[in-house]
Subunit: 299 residues, 3 copies
Amino acid sequence: MKKPIHPDGPELSTLSAGMWRLHEWDLSTDDLIRFIEECVEAGVTTFDHADIYGNYGNEALFGNALRERPDLRDKIEIVTKCGICLPVPGKPEYAIQHYNTGEEHIRMSVENSLRNLNTERIDLLLIHRPDPLMDASEVANTFLKLINEQKVRYVGVSNFTPSQFNLLQSAMDECLVTNQVECSVLHTIALFDGTFDQAQRYNASPMIWSPFAGGRLFTGSGDAPHRVRQVLFKLSEKYSASIDQLALAWLMALPCSPFPVLGTGKIERIRSAADALSLNMEKQDWFRILEASRGHPVA
Amino acid sequence: MKKPIHPDGPELSTLSAGMWRLHEWDLSTDDLIRFIEECVEAGVTTFDHADIYGNYGNEALFGNALRERPDLRDKIEIVTKCGICLPVPGKPEYAIQHYNTGEEHIRMSVENSLRNLNTERIDLLLIHRPDPLMDASEVANTFLKLINEQKVRYVGVSNFTPSQFNLLQSAMDECLVTNQVECSVLHTIALFDGTFDQAQRYNASPMIWSPFAGGRLFTGSGDAPHRVRQVLFKLSEKYSASIDQLALAWLMALPCSPFPVLGTGKIERIRSAADALSLNMEKQDWFRILEASRGHPVA
Amino acid sequence: MKKPIHPDGPELSTLSAGMWRLHEWDLSTDDLIRFIEECVEAGVTTFDHADIYGNYGNEALFGNALRERPDLRDKIEIVTKCGICLPVPGKPEYAIQHYNTGEEHIRMSVENSLRNLNTERIDLLLIHRPDPLMDASEVANTFLKLINEQKVRYVGVSNFTPSQFNLLQSAMDECLVTNQVECSVLHTIALFDGTFDQAQRYNASPMIWSPFAGGRLFTGSGDAPHRVRQVLFKLSEKYSASIDQLALAWLMALPCSPFPVLGTGKIERIRSAADALSLNMEKQDWFRILEASRGHPVA
């Protein structure tokens, strides 16, 4: 289930386990070790972190598991992010939510991530949000140094517009291997604003956050969630698949070859998602879902 | 009146006769032959088709004329399109309007077009609409094979954004010779969203559909049509031209060198349009019309 | 305080003195000479003109000063613009506000500017507004001729989208050294629409007009001006700076290295602005101002 996210990038599992809500799952270190092992067994070997997840706490929770079980490290890939500064009790120096993509901050964040995760390398480091103060040369140089120091293997971005991606890429020799963006049957902007055109053009497969629209797919009110659920329910019989499996299959049909990030701590939902990868959705059903999402047929 | 639509593209007549509504014109094959001959005499030698026009019927109506009069084929250029799947009685396999830009579909569509049009080559084949499921390499390879098989001479797209155009072009050695888009005095988006910047930059002259805003120019209600008609009526005396001639001259003033597609089956309107090509509109009058269309002067 | 606006461009002072409202300042030629001298002493050596400023009159007012004091010419840099045609009493041939970027018009405008400014060369010539009728090759050729004739040293544009900039640049060997655009704490579009990404990528520092939002910063009603003023007032103590100095320092923090154009005729405000250039704003304060301007924190 692993494949390169970019011709010059790392092999990642098609699905990643997102650690965004790890702190809410109330797992002991043993529980987390079991979860990681079960993910790996299900073919989900990539774990998606950010320095700020769990108010800067989730990397350390994960690192505790790796400390107990260092053998797990080589079975998994670790993605993490930096660049957002979050005002939380442990960070009195941050008075306001802001970005920092300066060398000093990136380097500090990477060192923290390595220490917290209890690892010697980050497989993929992403700039978390486009920073209007980003100096592309500075970020590029910082990336290069971190790669040369073998602290980071590959680099990418998240939530960048095509123009922001091009700016940073133009300052680098290494390739940005992904732009992790939001996409789902209920959030289709990246299909039409050039983001996925760019991903396809540069063979930089996008990692996808909120592939189920943050739960709106299942429980959201409003016309679009209602319409989409109706179509998915109808198709669930045809494909013998749950609506979340269909929502994933819909994403996987995209020609930019997406890598969805799951947000769940429930292994059965991870397994269910992994099963969905073998599901081939017919083109007409794909467009039926798009039509339900947008409220009108294609032109 | 013929000129290359792209430095590496075919010579087309500046105006094309659009076959979108051919089935509504109620022409016998002899009538159609006469219409084609009269178009050619008027310098309108390019005929704009799509597989789906007339619910997949109009190419065959045109092909009937070419069967009767094979000598006409070398006097004209045939543009056709593929990629839209229309749910009509004759296509029970299509349950919903959708796109298909896979190799199998494009090839099938081209074979149908060749058979229906009763010709051995399509002069210019366009992807009709941007397909979010388009695999650029697959389309590029399919285009190349069709060109090598001499079934299609040149290729292009229609209704693509600049980003979508760039994606497909980046996968090809051959040039996309046009992006056929909507534009008129009442629909000026392509002037400002990068579409015509790209056309000018790549010397890929755009074919223009709905150059009279689908009739809104003549009968549309609303402020913009009203204002534009007022200005055009005032100018009609100055230029000794009808308002449709002025609307065409307005388009022809664009530096991307547009190739408008007419939608009429009335030869006198074709002739009137052809006469408009020699009309040079003064810059100030051009901006007067733009101002009427947008409701405000330029900044 | 001078620095190159582009690696292959002219050295300009970071701040320019904008001559937009020169005609409203009611200065005698001697007054203006004194103003120019005082600007130069304050390090503001670049003067930003346009053919149309003061209803085509301000270049001549400035030129009167240079006629009296030809020694000043080599101490300053002159930027001017062309391409807008303004219907004013002295231009009966212009019935409507419109653009003209044809060779004849640009050349005529440059000759007028040289004569009015009483100078032999324009240091930087800008196309004032993107013209939907711009023929990029024609503008490029005209620019090249004017450079070869030593009437113009460098060229650029103003108010162009990234796509329009790319189009014109693609037709030229010389570099467009700047895109002069609007930006301020109350007008942040250029930070997010690709304009400043492009500026940073091509090292073409943007000149910035309305750096104080045309006065809205000081007196504007509405939520955003109110919120921004509140934040700036709070910060004014911390930085021992006025709110206009802080607004400038906010701009100067941008990584595209902006060159703001001041609009004032008051030398004390010029000096105050020049002093602001040494002010380094902390990242968090920068984001505090952005948040106040947009009404929401960054994501």
